[in-house]
Symmetry: C2
Subunit: 257 residues, 2 copies
């Protein structure tokens, strides 16, 4: 949905995140999905050594910027989205599920460079999420739809996993084509008929037909042969097997007799 | 896409996962999205204490089953999907990106109870992924579309994050409706006109109109007032502010003079 060239216009803003492992996990998810702009808001300097050592997170972590306040952290952003587990909290901003938010982000970024669109995606602290004061910076809120377990507190996701899911949703559908296996040619109906005949000979030779005539009709065997010969490459393999079985049963295939 | 009642028919199978933190993270993601069937394939018993202590993972971890071989682990499954980063490896199975796989899973589960559909989602070891022998159990392969960084090895995701993204995609679109904020009533045009008049008085009193007549036209001020009064609750607030400014400028609002 959001092309690779637009991902530089999406900032991931971690507010009061204090767990270096989680920060590293967010950076790794950003790296995995092609995002680069990580902003950390903390009123004191967090030691990042542990985060920087996270696999694949190095580049993103090195470019991360530190802010002491949210005002400065989102000053250049034209759309600010706050992630929330919602729960029992009263919310003042319009709330979207993640897939809808992704569309809004794409619409904002589609405004083009002259509008200087820049989107901030805010994540709160691991323990408390975003405070009401922090949510007041948000144009809209985002929630990842989670399963509500009966009688349990409202679920909240691990920070690194929540970031991975959000960023995946942002790039979903814009995937560069995967290296597909070459389309497998299908077996021709001529090959399938030859298989069907061989199969009939095997059932005859094995005295299966005598015991199960209903399962040995031409139509039934043809349907079986179609499923056996799922690909053109499979057909000669199966025919070799069937011929060998016939030979072993002392009734070599008629076509080769 | 996959309803809550169908999620019990999806097994997450971790093959040769040895990091209890990662196993715990997978269990937590399963809990978050309402999945319960975790299967661990290892040729020796992994100590799970660390995994069981993971937040929200306890229930899923306690129900997890241990298998010594993949044959037994997927014996009751009718569709086996193997996750892979693809990379340079030659693949023998058809490959889907995650969103397409999700549709296939939904189609399989839609076959209904009489077909006993059960889907296995396989994740390989953190270091090497699934081996070719392990991939041979798979009907199809799944890949999460990731960003290919120039000159870097093909990316692979952290196991806990990959599981979270896959399970999110499976439940995506089946979200229970989120608790929406009550629709905000819009300000009436009558209120907006009163605001527009007050705004004109402020610009007059502040001698702004004299310096910027083009910005002070009735139509221009009406457009400004419409955007100011984004909601019905905003309108009286703004009118109070404008009246106060007029009073302070020594030109109390005409309507109240």
């Amino acid at each position: 949905m959001i092309g690779p060239e637009q991902r530089g216009r999406v900032a991931v803003v971690l507010v009061r995140s204090r767990n270096p492992q989680n920060i590293g996990a967010v950076a790794r998810a950003m790296h995995d999905f092609g995002f680069t702009d990580l902003r950390l808001v903390n009123d004191y300097t967090v030691p990042f050594e542990a985060a920087q050592s996270a696999i694949d997170a190095g580049e993103v972590m090195r470019a991360a910027r530190h802010f002491t306040g949210l005002t400065e952290a989102v000053a250049d952003c034209t759309l600010v989205l706050g992630t929330t587990a919602v729960g029992e909290r009263r919310i003042e901003q319009p709330l979207d599920t993640l897939d809808r938010s992704s569309t809004r982000v794409a619409e904002e970024l589609a405004k083009g460079v002259e509008a200087s669109p820049r989107v901030a995606l805010l994540f709160g602290s691991e323990k408390t999420g975003l405070s009401n004061e922090e949510l007041s910076y948000c144009h809209r809120l985002v929630t990842i739809p989670m399963h509500q377990h009966a009688g349990m507190r409202h679920p909240s996701m691990n920070l690194g996993q929540a970031a991975a899911v959000c960023l995946y949703e942002l790039v979903r559908g814009s995937a560069t084509p995967v290296r597909e296996r070459a389309a497998e040619p299908a077996a021709s109906m001529g090959e399938i008929e030859r298989m069907r005949v061989l199969l009939a000979e095997v059932l005859e030779a094995a005295e299966y037909r005598r015991h199960h005539p209903a399962n040995s009709s031409e139509a039934h065997l043809r349907r079986l042969a179609i499923r056996l010969a799922a690909t053109r490459a499979d057909a000669p393999v199966w025919m070799g097997i069937l011929r060998q079985v016939l030979w072993k049963l002392g009734k070599p295939a008629r076509e080769t007799r």
